[in-house]
């Protein structure tokens, strides 16, 4: 069907309207459509053709295309501004389209630790979550089953689990075995890293084929992305309207109930999608933006914002890492994902240092084709190029890690009144800065990494430290959960305090973010929200 033939008019009798078709929105849509409800999903971006994936991979590898080109990000639709101390490269950190940012993600998936839910009572930092690990544990198990996670129960530092992973873990890499010797000397335990990626054929998708380009595109579909649940939701009768960005949310006269989401379509018209329940799943930047754009007489500071917390407490994870040369082959870049990590230091948290985790990378340095195609390389071609590649590829080795950032009110997403998007709406303005706590956490991670590199005999030639760190692209905290309507935006059931039929499924509801990639927790919360909406209907 050509784009012109697509029906983008509203559904006449919708039970649930969901904004955003990333993993959060897709999981909610699938679950509620399976329960027999009439579900419509509004997605700002396009439906990408799965047959184009190899071409997108080529865009990623070939230097004539920028990183935003792979998933057609950027331009007036995605405009944003920065106002904080740190630059935040927002369009490298998200994808707009059916499947959302999981089209680009790497796909490592972890459960938060019990301590992450109790940061205030344990360490006096941030706030406690109003729910605990126990409340999420069954949803974590469901989320692992939905996404299809390959993992092993060999992580002594992970929180308790009651069931095996859906698929066996990927075996450790050759370079993991090099790290293992050094870690053993130092008394550091390594363990497998769970991946939302098929280690064997699963759920109608093939096993990983080893393209090695997982981030930003998996041509084989072995890496989970949310197109999986969009397709399942559509199979259950849900309707997904692409290229239909929500413009604002409208409520009834009382100001207590949402009536409709107003969305735009490519032909320039606006439509109103009415429904009984509304679920916002547009990610940690666009959800607060949409609420702020929807201010009204009853809600002059933005919808669901009587607490003033909408957009505030923006958190990300900070990257810490280092790499260099070993005097032996390291066999990198065969696959694009991680097989081993260490969470040994994760719970060594105190009043001054937050959690961090260590990653043993399988993709250090440049791949042969990157060196060959780059005009920055010394040699242009021929024997000299092959020689240069042999020198640059082969002995590289690297570690990464994520460090936690506590919530701070001044880190926030606001509207920039001076810059508008392609529909004339003020763009998101990101205020982001680092504090001493995360700087100390990065230093702690660097220290452990340096000890391992030193033990291994690596000649370290790059370090990402507190001065050069950057975000891991996990947008958390901007509509946080809580029991007190004066302090938080959603209640523990993930419904907004202020509106009785408006729900949020996103990392924006995280109260603290730990130091583990967030998407499994997003998925668990989405399933929890779906159950709550179901109960309401």
């Amino acid at each position: 069907m050509s784009q012109g033939d697509v029906d983008r008019t509203p559904s006449p009798r919708s039970d649930v309207c969901i904004v955003g078709a990333g993993p959060a929105g897709a999981l909610v849509a699938h679950r509620l459509a399976s329960e027999g409800y009439d579900v419509v999903v509004l997605e700002a971006g396009p439906r990408f053709d799965p047959d184009d994936r190899l071409e997108r991979m080529e865009r990623h590898i070939r230097p004539s295309h920028g990183p935003e080109d792979v998933w057609d990000m950027g331009g007036p639709r995605d405009a944003y501004t920065n106002a904080g101390e740190e630059h935040y490269p927002l369009n490298a950190a998200r994808v707009k389209g059916v499947g959302g940012t999981t089209l680009h993600w790497q796909g490592m998936v972890f459960r938060l630790h019990e301590s992450d839910f109790e940061r205030r009572s344990r360490h006096g930092v941030g706030r406690d979550w109003p729910i605990g690990y126990d409340d999420l544990q069954p949803y974590y198990a469901e989320a692992e089953a939905e996404l299809g996670v390959a993992g092993a129960d060999d992580n002594p530092f992970a929180p308790p689990r009651a069931e095996p992973f859906p698929m066996p873990a990927f075996r450790p890499s050759y370079s993991d075995s090099l790290f293992a010797e050094a870690c053993e000397e130092l008394g550091i335990a390594m363990h497998s890293a769970p991946n939302a990626r098929n280690s064997e054929a699963h759920d109608g998708r093939s096993a990983c084929q080893g393209y090695g380009t997982c981030k930003p595109v998996c041509p084989s579909g072995a890496k989970y992305d949310a197109t999986v649940h969009v397709a399942k939701a559509e199979g259950e009768g849900a309707r997904v309207i692409d290229r239909a960005p929500a413009q604002r949310i409208e409520h009834d006269r009382s100001g207590e109930t949402v009536e409709a989401v107003v969305y735009a379509t490519p032909d320039g018209t606006e439509h109103r999608q009415e429904a009984r329940q509304f679920v916002l799943a547009a990610g940690g930047i666009e959800i607060p933006r949409l609420l702020l754009l929807s201010r009204s007489t009853q809600h002059p500071d933005g919808l669901a914002n009587s607490s003033g917390a909408v957009g505030r407490y923006f958190m990300d994870h900070l990257f810490a890492g280092m790499g260099g040369e070993l005097d032996a082959p390291t066999r990198q870049k065969h696959v694009g994902f991680i097989t081993s990590e260490s969470h040994q230091f994760y719970d060594d948290v105190d009043e001054s240092v937050g959690p961090y985790k260590l990653e043993f990378l399988n993709y250090a340095g440049q791949s042969p084709v990157n060196v060959a195609l780059s005009t920055e390389s010394e040699a242009a071609w021929g024997d000299a190029l092959a020689e240069e590649i042999r020198d640059t590829y082969g002995n590289r080795i690297a570690m990464g890690g994520l460090c936690g950032q506590p919530p701070r009110a001044e880190n926030r997403v606001t509207l920039d009144p001076d810059v508008t998007d392609d529909h004339g709406n003020p763009v998101p303005e990101i205020h982001w800065s680092l504090g001493d706590r995360e700087r100390r956490t990065i230093e702690a991670a660097n220290e452990t990494q340096a000890a391992i590199m030193n033990e291994l005999g690596v000649d370290v030639d790059w370090v990402t430290d507190a001065a050069t760190t950057g975000p891991a692209f996990h947008h958390m905290g901007t509509t946080r959960m809580g029991t007190d309507p004066d302090e938080s935006v959603v209640n523990p059931r993930l419904r907004t305090h202020d509106l009785d039929n408006c729900w949020i499924a996103s990392a924006s509801t995280f109260v603290t973010g730990g130091a583990l990639n967030p998407t499994l927790t997003i998925a668990a919360l989405a399933l929890r929200a779906a159950d709550a909406v179901d109960a309401e209907l």
Partner: protein, 174 residues
């Protein structure tokens, strides 16, 4: 090292043209190879400069790869044909003969004088950028995302090639 059609098919698999290097795929491409409709001689002559000198069988590799890449992609085909014409025209101008008839040194010099060694690739840019994109990087991409090219520099499963999930576990001596 001898390149084969099978290597070209493996390279094509990583660009989505052929899925699975089966016999059907081979014969399917045979028809296309029979009517090469870009200037394959020039392309092969360029590849001989770009690929390491120990590589043989370049013609078969390039013909198969390019036939797969340009078939059913008229824009890409036009871009490549046009860039090859630029290469040939400069060879005539600077070295008084079609590119494919020049010795290796003069071919190398033609490409460098064009700027194709240093200019950023640009499919819509000026001639040197287009030569870098459609000819130089096209050929280097084919070679260095294939197991044949990767193996020459230390990896039998380079990125872009679906080489499975056992190679990453193997040590260098395995």
């Amino acid at each position: 090292m001898e390149l084969t059609r099978r290597d070209a098919l493996a390279a094509l698999a990583s660009t989505g043209i052929v899925v699975g290097a089966g016999a059907a795929a081979l014969s399917h491409l045979d028809d296309r190879r029979a009517k090469p409709d870009v200037d394959v001689d020039t392309l092969v002559a360029v590849a001989e400069v770009l690929y390491p000198s120990e590589v043989t069988g370049v013609r078969e590799f390039v013909e198969t790869f390019v036939a797969g890449r340009t078939a059913d992609r008229p824009d890409y085909h036009a871009g490549m044909a046009d860039a090859l014409a630029v290469v040939d025209e400069r060879a005539e101008r600077w070295f008084d003969g079609p590119f494919a008839t020049l010795d290796r040194e003069d071919r190398d010099a033609t490409l460098r004088q064009l700027g194709a060694d240093a200019i950023p690739p640009d499919p819509e840019g000026r001639p040197p950028g287009r030569v870098r994109y459609y000819v130089v990087n096209e050929l280097l991409y084919a070679f260095y995302t294939s197991p044949a090219g990767g193996s020459l520099v230390g990896t039998e499963n380079p990125i872009g090639h679906p080489g499975g999930t056992t190679s990453y576990q193997r040590g260098p001596d395995a």
